[in-house]
Each structure stands twice: as C-alpha cells, then as structure tokens.
Symmetry: C2
Subunit: 589 residues, 2 copies
C-alpha cells in the first residue's frame, strides 16, 4: 500500500470562455500544489465548459480547445507547477475521415493528463449519453481507450462521467486490468435527489472496479442546467470517505492508502462487455511511493435537506445566468402573490437586493391585499420598485379592437410583459418570469405575457413546492445568499388563496383541482411518462386524468408553436443550430 493525496477540483467554468477557464486551471492547480496534493483532478470538459452543444461542430472551436490544453501544460510548468500531475477535461478530435452519420470533425469528450509541461496522455469518454438533456451522439464519437498510469507506485485509471453510468466499457476494463484508484471527471447536472443516486452509483462502480473511486463534478449554473458539485470519494467497498460541499466551488483534498503495482507497461485490449473493446494503456509516471506522512482528515460535508438543496440550486442558477450572460441587474413583475414573491427572494439571494428591480402593475382587478403584500415585500427585501398602472394602456387597446373572455385576460398579461420588456430594453435588466411548473404545465400562462422574459427561475418548481420553498426560506439563511434578511417573504403571500386576478373574484381553484392533487398527477404524467390507463390504475380520478392530460398536451403544443417555420435549407433558425446561451466563445477571439 502507498499513500497519495488527491485534490478534487470542484469549480465553475464558463462555456466557451477558454482563457478564463485556463486561468482557473492554473489558479486551482497552484492551490492544490500548495496543499501538498500528488494529483489534481478537474472536471469533464473543464477547459471548454459543459455543455457546449453545436459549438463542438466548429473546427475553429475544437482547435482552440486543443491549443488551450497544450498551452496550459506549458504554462503550468513555467509557473513551477509541472511536477503535479493534472487530469483535465477538454474537447479533442478523433482524426477520423468525414462520413455520413458521424459528427463533423469527429469530436471527442476528452480528458488529458498533464505533467512536466507535456500533455502525457489523451483519452475520451466511451459511453455517450443521448437521453434527457443529453444529445451526445450528435456531438461526439466514442473513445475506446483507458489509461492506467502509475503514480508513486499506484496504478490510476481515468474514466469520464457517463462511463460510470452505463454498464460495461471502461469500468469493466478496469475490473479486468486491475488498478489502485479510479478517477472520474464529471459534468453531471443536478436533479432533485440526485445526490443519493450518485453516491449509490459510485459505490457500485468502486466495488466493480475493485478500488477506491474519486468522483469530481462541475458546479455552477449553465443555461438550463445547474451543476451541484457534490464531488466525493468512496473506498473499494463503496463506503463514502469524503464529500465536497454542494452548490459552491470547493477543493476537496483527500489522503488515500492505495494498493501499489509493478505490472510492466502494456497495451491490452479487453472485452468491454457492451459489444465493444477497450484498449488499456498502462504506463509509468513515477514508481517510488511517497514517504509516509500524516494524513489530513477527509472533509465530509453533510448533504443539504430537500428544500434547502432545491433553493440553493435555484439561487445558483439565477446568479450564474446573470453573471455569465453579462447582465448587471434583473427586473420582474411583483403581484403580491407567492410566485413572484419567491422569485424576488431567489433573485435577491442570487445577486443582492440592490440589483433587483420590481414593478407593481395593478389593474382594475387587483385587490387591496395584492398591492399591500407587494409593498411589504419591497420593504422587507429592500429591492428597487416602481408602480406602473396598466388600466389606461389596456383601455387604449380596447378602443381599437374588441376582445372578450380569455383574449381580454391575455391582453392584461401581455401589457405587463411589454412594460417589463420595454424597461429591460431601456435599462439593460434581465427580465425574470415568475411562472411555476404547475401553471406552465396546465397552460395557465400567457404566451408573450407573463411568460415573456429571459430566465424563468421557478419554471421547474411545482406550486406545492413553491410554498414549501417560501416557508423554508423564511425560516433559514445560508452563507451562500447575497441577501441577509431573515424572513424576506410576507406571510400573507404564503397563506392567501392563489389567484391570477385577471377577472373579478378569480381563484385558481375555479379551473384547477387543489394543487396537492394536481402536482401528484403532473409528476406521474410528465416526469414518469405514465399513460392514462396507468394513471387511473395509480389512483388518479379518471375524469381529472382526461382533463389534465388535455391541458398539458395543449400547453406543450402552444409552447412549441414559437417559433416554428418550414425548413428549406440544412439549417434553419431556431431548432437546428443548437448553441449554448451562456457562451463566451467568439469566432473573433
């Protein structure tokens, strides 16, 4: 056995900002070296950020990634950090000829080992996820090699992210070839309760590989994704030995006692158990174990509980969306209701109340308590506010065109949306929308009205969870929040009956079942993809199933309506070019 000190570098890259990410590589490697690490492990595609979507199909982008990697190796050595081996993710290319069905340029989701100014080894992810938010068959070709390099006598294997999630492949090859440690750079997005799934997965793969596993994950918001970090180390029996903090950058330094090896360098192909072959490249960086030393205690951050975790995810998502897209401030409409109150609190916690602007836009149907509750929130949080009554503008439209029923309700929402967009265009604020998942799912939302804006902080939060998060926030604070206010949300906004206030005495329950009933049904239909027979068998009311499925399908169809148009060239605008939003890479750079 021999000791090794591993630094898990859990950081927050920005998609496309190659030079800033390279600067981070240098700074954090310096920090890891300062703490005596023998190996520093960064995350998947750290130099480019993840996900880069269609940027990866541009030759100039892939070239910039490779150049940044090579320059980083040189730079680390010039800065006196060359002795510390570094594993870092980036984008490379497989050098395969163009062929129908193969992504242009044959890009690789690659990871490299940097040492003494050189790129010592380049490997690439084998399993490409192509479900949920992932489209990696569109972007990458598969890697088919696995490095096992000897570091101070210990054989260290490297597998990338999805190679842990799918059976067979690199982990199966490690199990056959044998290694003292398996390290895995990841960019694994947050989902509710994913931390439990992830730990169980790492434990299983460590047992399969027969060695401890080091799991390093990205942290930060990136477009619609939030990465929670939650980097961790499990031993060869699957027991958790170290865990990083969630939703913040962290350098997790862990001392491990690992099996040594003196197997000779080799190149052996193994059946990967998934219909393919993985070639294991075994080579030596350094043979001598490090001299015995006193290990540091392994940090073991306690995971956040359910509402805390979600609230932190939303705060980080908003903060990074604002910062990475170059906004200085946000603006939102405040109705006095719970959705906009929670959104305001998240925004203030994300960027600070001094950068949050709210607009109260009362109509003839707004109740006294709505305006009062909104004003109370402004007092509590200390955000900037202004009042813009919409009555005269709505009357102006009604003078020119006759609208009734739903069309008249939509008009009010659209006038509010236009006011927010106008102020956004004039002053540069990012418009935050305030719709929750339950109402978006069922279509209680106006296209170009309350849905108009650049970022929707609670669009994935069901209404019942909106209340839960509001109560949690009023009872808790975190050092990660930019607003230091104990109970930022007026109690009345939490407890009163929800209403859109678009016609006299309107109540959400006029048209929807109670939210506890609705949210359970939505979860089964949308998240679990259950069909109507299954939903009824699961105990949902048959008439309600029919009604809600119709609403959800109609709402999804309406969302998808914007902005389709026929395609007459290989790439039309909108759906075809799939580019990250929060992207700093520019052709001219």
């Amino acid at each position: 056995m021999a000791q090794l000190r591993i630094a898990l570098v859990q950081t927050n890259p920005t998609v496309g900002d190659l030079s800033a990410n390279a600067d981070k590589l240098l700074a954090w490697t310096r920090e890891a070296a300062g703490r005596g690490a023998h190996l520093a492990v960064f995350t998947e595609m750290f130099l480019t950020g993840y996900p880069v979507e269609d940027l990866v199909l541009r030759t100039s982008f892939v070239e910039a990634s490779i150049r940044t990697l090579e320059e980083s190796a040189t730079r680390l050595a010039l800065e006196g950090l060359g002795e510390l081996p570094v594993i870092v993710g980036y984008v490379d290319r497989a050098g395969l000829a163009p062929r129908a069905g193969r992504p242009k340029g044959a890009p690789l989701d690659a990871a490299a080992l940097l040492h003494r100014g050189e790129v010592v080894y380049r490997t690439a992810k084998h399993h490409l996820p192509n479900y949920g938010v992932f489209d990696e068959y569109r972007y990458f070709v598969r890697g088919d090699r696995l490095p096992i390099f000897r570091l101070h006598g210990v054989d260290v294997a490297v597998a990338v992210c999805e190679d842990l999630w799918q059976d067979g492949g690199p982990v199966a090859a490690v199990a056959q070839a044998g290694a003292g440690l398996l390290v895995a750079p990841n960019a694994s997005p947050y989902e509710k309760d994913k931390d439990d799934v992830r730990l169980e997965l790492c434990a299983r793969r460590a047992r399969e590989a027969g060695c401890p596993l080091v799991y390093v994950n990205q942290v930060g918001g990136q477009d619609e994704l939030v990465f929670d970090g939650d980097s961790l180390v499990v031993d060869e029996t699957g027991v958790l030995v170290a865990r990083a903090r969630q939703f913040q950058e962290d350098l997790l330094v862990v001392d491990l006692d690992l099996a040594t090896s003196d197997a000779p360098p080799s190149q052996v192909a193994y059946d990967a158990g998934d219909g393919s072959t993985i070639t294991v490249d075994r080579f030596v960086l350094s043979k001598e174990p490090v001299a015995p030393y006193e290990p540091v205690p392994a940090p073991l951050a306690a995971p956040l509980d359910a509402p805390a975790e979600v609230y932190h995810a939303l705060v980080l998502a908003v903060r990074d969306y604002v910062a990475k897209n170059g906004f200085q401030s946000v603006i939102l409409g405040l109705s006095g209701g719970i959705d906009s109150a929670l959104t305001a609190a998240i925004a203030s916690d994300a960027v600070g109340p001094s950068r949050v602007h709210v607009v109260l836009m009362p109509s003839r149907y707004s109740s006294e308590h709505s305006i009062g509750d909104a004003e109370e929130l402004v007092r509590r949080q200390g955000v900037h506010s202004r009042v813009v009554p919409i009555g005269d503008i709505v009357s102006g439209f009604e003078k020119e065109i006759e609208l009734s029923g739903l069309a008249a309700e939509n008009l009010q929402a659209r006038v509010r949306g236009m006011i927010l967009m106008g102020l956004s265009n004039e002053h540069g604020h990012l418009v935050l929308t305030t719709g929750n998942k339950s109402e978006l799912a069922t279509g209680y939302s106006t296209l170009y009205g309350d849905s108009a804006g650049g970022f929707a902080p609670i669009k994935d939060v069901p209404k019942t969870m909106v209340w839960e998060l509001a109560r949690w926030r009023n009872a808790h604070h975190s050092p990660l929040f930019a607003m230091d206010v104990p109970a930022p949300i007026p109690e009345n906004s939490i407890t009163k009956e929800p209403s859109a206030e678009l016609r006299p005495d309107q109540r959400d329950t006029d048209s929807l079942p109670p939210y506890e009933v609705l949210d359970r049904l939505l979860d089964d239909y949308v998240e679990k993809d259950m069909g109507s027979a299954e939903l009824i068998a699961a105990g949902h009311d048959p008439a309600l199933v029919t009604r809600i499925i119709r609403l959800v399908d109609l709402a999804e169809y309406k969302r998808r309506q914007y902005p389709p148009g026929p395609k007459i060239t290989p790439k039309n605008f909108g759906r075809d070019r799939r580019l990250p939003i929060t992207n700093r890479w520019r052709e001219q750079a």
Copy 2:
C-alpha cells in the same frame, strides 16, 4: 427475369393520427390493387407519421402503433385486399430489458410486410441518424435484420431510409446476399436541392446492391419539416426509370423486369461493413412468376426548378400546419413591404384568400406608399383586411414609461404583435409571422413583437430569395395553389427599398450591407459552419465578418433566451419533453 408491378404510395400521414393513417393505408392499397400492383410500398413510420419525437417513449403510444399494424393486416384481408403484399412503416419495440443509455421501451423504427391478413415479417432501421433535425439515438435502438422475401419468383429486400444514406449495414448485406429488388420506405425531409442529392444516392446504392431500387418518400408538412415526396425508381445501373410528382400525394405504378431466384430459405449473418452484423432472413411468399403482360409506361415527373420548388414547399408547409393543427384561418400583419406581401401570397395559395385575414397597423412612421401597397395587395388577392392604427396605444405606453431608441422601436413592433395575438385569441386565427431568414439571423426582429406568432412561413428564406420568390410567383401559377390570381404581389412591394419604418426615414441599409453580400456571408457562416479565418479566406470583408458574426451569435442567444430556466427534476418544461406540434395522438383516444 420476371415482371412485377410495384406501387409506390407517396402519401401524407398525420403524426399521431393512427386511425386516419390506417384508413389511408386501406384506401391507397385498394387503389394500388385496382391498378394491378403486385406489391404496395408505403413510407417510413407511415402508421404513426414521422417524426413522432418523445411520443415514442410512451408505452401506450408504441402499443397503439403495434395494435394498429395488426388490425390493418386483418382489415386489408377482410376488405378483399389480402392477396396484395403491403410494406408499411410503423413503430415497434425490440423487447430489450431497460438499461441506462437505452431509450425507454427500446422502440424500433420498424417496417412490416402484410399479406393475407397476417403480419408476415417485421424489420427495423439499422442506421439511426442523429444529426441536423434527427435525434434518433434518443428514440430508437438499431435493427440488425434484413428480410429478403420471394414474390412471384423475385427476391425483394427491404431497407429503411437512413440505411441508404450511411455506408455499410443493410445495403452491404444485400450486395452480399443478392436480391432482385431493393425497396426503401423513407421519411426524408425536403431541403433546397435535395432532389439531386437523393437521386445520386439512390443510383449509387442500386449499383452497390446490384439490383433496381424503389425509393418511396413521405409528402406533406409536419411541424418544421416539409416532405417533398419525389419518390423514384432507378435500375441496377443507377438510371432513373420513374419519378413521382413533388409536393403532392401520388401513386407511382411501375412495371419492372427483375431477376428471379430459387435460393432456398435461409438465415445468414453477414458482416455489415460498419462494425456490426446483419442477419438476412430469406423466405418465400410466392414462387411462380406472373404471366407476361403489357407493361404500363413509367411516369417520369420533371422536377420543379429552384424557385418553384421552394415556393411549393412553403405553400405545403403552411397548408398542412394549418390543417393538421385544426385551424380554420390565418392572420398576419401587412406593412406594404415585400416580406409580408410574400407571406400573404403563400398563405392565400395555401388555404385560399377567403381564409386569410390581414391587419394594416400604420404608425406615425408609416409612409404613404406602404399603406397604398398593402391596400393594393388586398385588392389583388381578395383577402379579408382591417386597419388598426397603433399611434394612440403607443402613446398610452409612453405616458407610463419612458422608452427611447431601440426600446421605443421594439414597443411599436410589440404593440402590433399584441394586436395580432389578441385577434387570434378572440377569433381563432393562426398568427403567421413575416420575418425572413436574413433579418432573423442578424437580429433585426423584435422578441414578442414581429416574431410573435404560431408559424413563420419565410423564416428559412434569405431576403434575396424573398424577392426571387415574389417575382417567380407573379409570373407563375400552379394547380396546387388555392388562389387563382396571376400577379398577387404589387410590383412596388418588390422593387422599393426595404425599410422597417420604426423611425423616420429608416432604411435596412442604414445598419446592414446590401442583401446580396449579407446572404452570401450568412450562408457560409450559418449553413457551412465556416470559422472567421475561413470566411475571410473565402473573400468576405474582414470587418463585415466580425460584425455579422457578432450579430448572428447575439440574435441566436436572444432567441434561445426564451424560455430557459433551471432544471431541478428529470423533465422540466420547454426543452426536455420533445413532442411534435402537429400531433393527433391523445392518451384518452
């Protein structure tokens, strides 16, 4: 050699409308039988329509597809059509256990052979396209079998769509196994000039397979895709022998003289030349060649020329989007400029002028000729029109919030968008937007303003092509158009200088280069994915390259801004669930 009469059924299914598609199967099989066909070939996934996107991940949908196939086989026999073998596409499942990385339910892009009331054989596409508009690794698992069935002494092989486009796989297996005919059901979307590419591909694959090839393609608009039909037959040397009409349903009946075979039934695995194996199942439907008969001449439709082809594609896209989504009428804003004039002509040709509503919305900056040109178009086309001046509404906003520059220009566009959306909500018209590709690409478009609407007929048409199409339409008519007007677009709309008229004396050339220059650059940057160095090397002005790349990237980012929000559950709304818009399948059905 033996004769066979093949019916290529080029029809227009509707996604999700299984029972209507099954009715079409019956009706067109009857027509094929009436014309003496020995084999009827329908298109890829005909029974479900194509593409079905995330519907395919629902168990109940896949079950409905399989049930519809089996019922169709029975029904054909009951209707006295059982003796005519039918090849038809549908969705099946592979029966594989759930596994990380495998689409839920392991769906197959399948095709079946129906005969005498039975589903005689089921096969599935081997090559899954995952580029451009295709995401098939998300939806399907690969097929690995190829049927070769003997029909009246001729061995007929079946391969599905992409199996022609990629090297290796089923066509490679046909080349080794030998067949008298290769038939390929397709759902291959239209792109400009694709007819030439497709013919060349079919010719190459026929030579590779060593037998004639029957290529049957879907026709019709489906969401953003348009299928042009263009079904065809090439002989074993690659020479075109028959071709169907473009952009309309067609039954192409062709007599072929084909090699016979008496090879025994077998099941042999062949190296597919793509790292996989294809098992060829050879079996017999009927051995006896048909008695010699007088062949009918093979129809050879002349392909449309470039502007005619694009214009027909746009008309069909609008017509099917309106019909398949259940709209009765469309509405659009008419400015007097060329974009809205062309859009109105396309709409009138698609659904007839009596179902087209236009709104003239003059502002303080609208010129005399704009209003005059718009009125002239109304007279020529006979569409419904009304005038809604926006001056007072804009003033109403300006009384409440101060907006200047771009924010004030956007306000005018948004007021117009709100008027159209209000009238749409009130009367049920589908809003058509009128933006062209050049202005959408460079961001000369207002979010929630002129971009507000359900369908964007010319969003993939560059400005230079807008003029070309307008001139073409004024000089041509087609029996496929619903408007019988010789020159529907006022000459002045075509010849005058383009302007958005959002401020005094505004001209497009104030902020953009001439459209001939711009469109060439956009084509190289967007369609060809060229980087800045390549663009400059290709002769584009360096300063212009920098400026336009910036505009395009910014505009794409702004389009993508709507409506992202953070993801905290496996499926948030918007991007994750990918459902077809024009979809008739309902859980309750």
